[in-house]
Symmetry: D2
Subunit: 339 residues, 4 copies
């Protein structure tokens, strides 16, 4: 299904080499200040071609709002926003018509749908994530109005075998964005840049991890059982193609999981801000692991390829988390409103 959420709902559409991609956000309350520029700015953070370490594909990715916003405020009606594909060099892909790309899901999709869109991966393309960034921008506009203390910041914490130091709690998106790697460690990120460039030249790729920190969540956010904050976060992050693992807790959680309970539970931060599935008022901490992207040698050599997608995935993961929070805030409102 192409819809995420129960009350704050994102539906995405569009193939990577079709006419356009887009998002419908249904459930954003009325009266939330929202401009096209806010959404465009969010897309610009994900856009390829931002630096030498990302793909050379130029995708201007200009967003057009079709509905749901009037005089820079949301109407409470569905917000539709689209990005036209201007760079449809499907000639590049014609050779793929009969060839499955190794490491891609081409063969699996053909088996499933019989009729596959060979033009660049269709819906499996990472390009689909721009739709999520649109949704995240709307979610963050809503949270900025109703829960201004909530902040979600993600950064690259590992590239290949290079592991960054854990940043100080108050880290901001601006600080993360200041470096092309979106790593916050001033020493390690220089080395990361070099490794990514080397992989790019070699037609190779690198994986690693992204850490996410959310501050200011209301205590009790989350629904019990299947709608636990951590379950919905897991689905949201697990729905991003390259993510191959999710951990809820501090950056070194997996190392400390071998501690006995008497030690483990004496460290309040081990809960990663979640207890019983609900936010406990402490910062929520998450880590997502990424496979190195699959590459197609001749394709990679043309430069139309991200040797390491994590810098560009940072705003995507932030968007996913923000949408889960927005949805759970609406659910909490529903049940806890008192007239």
């Amino acid at each position: 299904m192409n819809t995420l959420g129960i009350l704050f709902r994102l539906t995405t559409f569009g193939e990577s080499h079709g006419v356009a991609l887009g998002s419908i956000i249904d459930g954003c309350p009325a009266g939330v200040p929202l401009t096209r520029d806010q959404i465009q700015a969010a897309l610009d953070r994900r856009r390829p071609g931002q630096s030498s370490i990302t793909t050379a594909r130029a995708e201007p990715d200009q967003v057009e709002i079709l509905s749901g916003v009037f005089e820079d405020k949301t109407l409470g009606t569905p917000i539709a926003a689209i990005v036209r594909n201007t760079n449809q060099r499907s000639g590049d892909y014609d050779k793929l018509k009969t060839v499955d790309r190794p490491g891609h899901a081409d063969a699996v999709w053909r088996e499933r749908y019989k009729h596959r869109d060979h033009r660049g991966g269709g819906r499996t393309s990472g390009r689909e994530t721009l739709c999520r960034v649109i949704g995240g921008a709307v979610a963050e506009a809503f949270l900025a109005r109703d829960l201004p203390r909530v902040s979600t910041v993600a950064w690259v914490s590992q590239v290949g075998d290079l592991v960054a130091a854990v940043p100080e709690p108050g880290i901001t998106r601006a600080q993360v964005d200041a470096h092309a790697t979106r790593c916050a460690d001033p020493v390690v990120r220089e080395e990361m840049s070099k490794r990514i460039l080397a992989a790019k030249e070699a037609g190779d790729s690198l994986g690693g991890s992204i850490d996410i920190r959310v501050e200011g969540l209301p205590v009790g956010l989350g629904e019990p059982i299947f709608g636990k904050l951590k379950a919905l976060i897991a689905q949201a992050l697990g729905s991003v193609g390259a993510v191959t693992g999710v951990v809820w807790g501090p950056p070194d959680l997996l190392a400390r999981i071998e501690q006995p309970g008497s030690v483990f539970h004496s460290q309040k931060e081990m809960y990663g801000g979640i207890q019983g599935g609900l936010a406990n008022g402490e910062p929520m901490q998450l880590r997502a692991f990424f496979k190195p992207p699959a590459t197609l040698a001749e394709h990679a050599k043309g430069g139309r390829h991200d040797p390491c997608i994590m810098p560009r995935a940072v705003p995507v993961l932030e968007a996913m988390v923000s949408m889960v929070i927005a949805d759970l805030v609406l659910q909490m409102n529903a049940f806890h409103h008192t007239a």
Copy 2:
């Protein structure tokens, strides 16, 4: 929300010290052979008091089917099954009326719901997982009829700092169940037992990991974008209280994530049976990390406590995975049926 799934849907209810817990399974096709004994056998695998390394609480957990089954076949109507709480020693818990248990979500839930059921955790109790085992038993009965080649087997792969060897591919549930630890490594599991017993005596607890292997999935299983096989698995496993991380891929995936793409993607098993979010026909491999359970010293000393919940969590995770598969099989049927 207390419901999981779109077509194969489990709804659970019941507080750990209320009258009963139960499950409604809506969406199991008609005509599937299913007996009360099958469900009871599944519950018996999760039941406490199975061995010296689990809690001494005796919970007979006898299931009663209220609807949806007639003459040992499903009717296509909702299957309701309940387990009465016979061991409601709420006196044990009266002292908790004004005390929040450290490491538990008591304070968070009270903040959220104001009115908390102090009798043993209410819905946050691990006892709720018996409802999932009921759902899993129904899902597996359905899969046994329609996709008999599907098999889901989980085992304990780590306890504290003890790491088990990866078992041979053909491992069965019977082999796993043959040892109280549900670890398949004949050497390491003996040491695991000792550690768990020591933790039990010390009123302490241990975490670790469970590995899951699913064979026989149809190629293409899973829905694109937010309904990806791995996204739904992540939600399902992430909805289990003690799970603190989920990885899709072979047991050593996190160690090998630092490999460059050229190496990583040359190993077909690195996909863990999932590509583009869909099953690729190879065995699906998963790992779930567990926190050591939070304990309450005096409570633990009474023995009413699991020092290591993973042996009993094995059938719970299998149930969660089986329900996700059943739901996705029904969805695939819907869209790929040809008249």
Copy 3:
């Protein structure tokens, strides 16, 4: 699907001659005063055998609450309540094993599910509506706390060709319940009683209509487009087996629909309390038409049969309307809460 609602959700289960029927209500906020007696009282209004004009079947229909209520307040967890079938005279029905009852859906269900529960209609039985009455009792307990000005009252407005006068606006459930017909017209109802008794003796049956009036709805209740108040009411009432038509508007709406717009719209009550799909603050008025029940002659002669189900359907329709309102109130809370 056996679930109704998005936030206030009723799931029903149980076959008419199985072990038990029951309801799960998920989404009732915590802290709502609710007792078993409240639910039992609602069931007693629907119960057969209340008077000479209904079926002679004695179904004590005693409800047991299994979860979700503690110390007479809702916990915010799913409320499960069941009614055991004590009157399982399935011998009565054995003769039906190979015979489809004329006018019933037996043949249709057998075609659909292959394997049919011949013991009295399974899920198609009117007995399933007791599950809805349970859900309605919970919805009304919630509304009584949060929107005490909301009142929903239904009454029988037509039996066969006997049409009752429209009652005064302030009519109460107690006034309706005072007569076995649940018709509020003191003259016509006496004739209705006679006709129903005559039909009972003749093994015949009668249809007609029920009117519903809801006061005190908050202005704006309802969701746009597919979640319009009138659309959800239509689904809820249309899901009751014997209902064969639904009209939103005053009792004589269909007669006045031939008026030109200039006349029609000069009468504010013509909107029936709904404009643009949302409640407009005026009383909501509805009418549901009922087919005469299908009967099986020899069965009817045994008296185990309702010659006119409308008197007993009154509390069922009230329950359906109350659940729709509760669901929409929660949705309105979600989007219109301001911190």
Copy 4:
């Protein structure tokens, strides 16, 4: 909520005087033949300005497919299609900025959403129904491939106090469309035309009814309880703004409802093709009642107004019914597929 359906899902967006309106259809299987022309032809049937008896507004309503279709076949991915608003004469509406239109829901929406889009009704406009026609065109393309014997035909059966004769069973859309009234009675429709023209000149309006006949439904279509065929049809038709009543059964059902069961049930057609909530293999028959549209005198005089919306509502109702059928067909596939 702006989404209809469980598996075949339509999400609509767009305000009547915003940039564009559009539809996302998620759940149409892959490989269904579908062209832009098919969708455009469906829209042309709903378009204003088709004849002297409809509004003089010229809305070319050109559809653009953004995704989900490639080489004239569906991809199995979401189908997005939009119609830009070229006729945004919002100057016409500026005078409405502070005036609520009598008979419209303006006041109710402003109360609900505080911030109302005054430009022509926003989402409450009948213009939103073009999105449904797009969804219906996709549903019918799917049904044409998988269930080619299904046909859905609607016609105007009453205008004001003029009642048409019931047409012969084999009536086609072409026959209905042959007259501007979309009434199939060759005598009465001439009088209907005159009445509608007279109402147009007087700035007045007319209501009435539309009948719908569906042939070729598979026996057993529909889900039990809340997903009954008739319940979902009721929601779908009830979600159309001007519909004020829905009846399942033959055209004269309401007149014959006063018959005793012994007579009523001897006429097989009284079930209207639905028994126990499921299709019984006979033609499904429905009637929807329409209020006369609310008008604004000066607005009506400019001709930008439909004195009788029923002729244009015929394809809208057909679309709603086709989408419900498509959704239920997918659900039936899900549960009844056998490998």
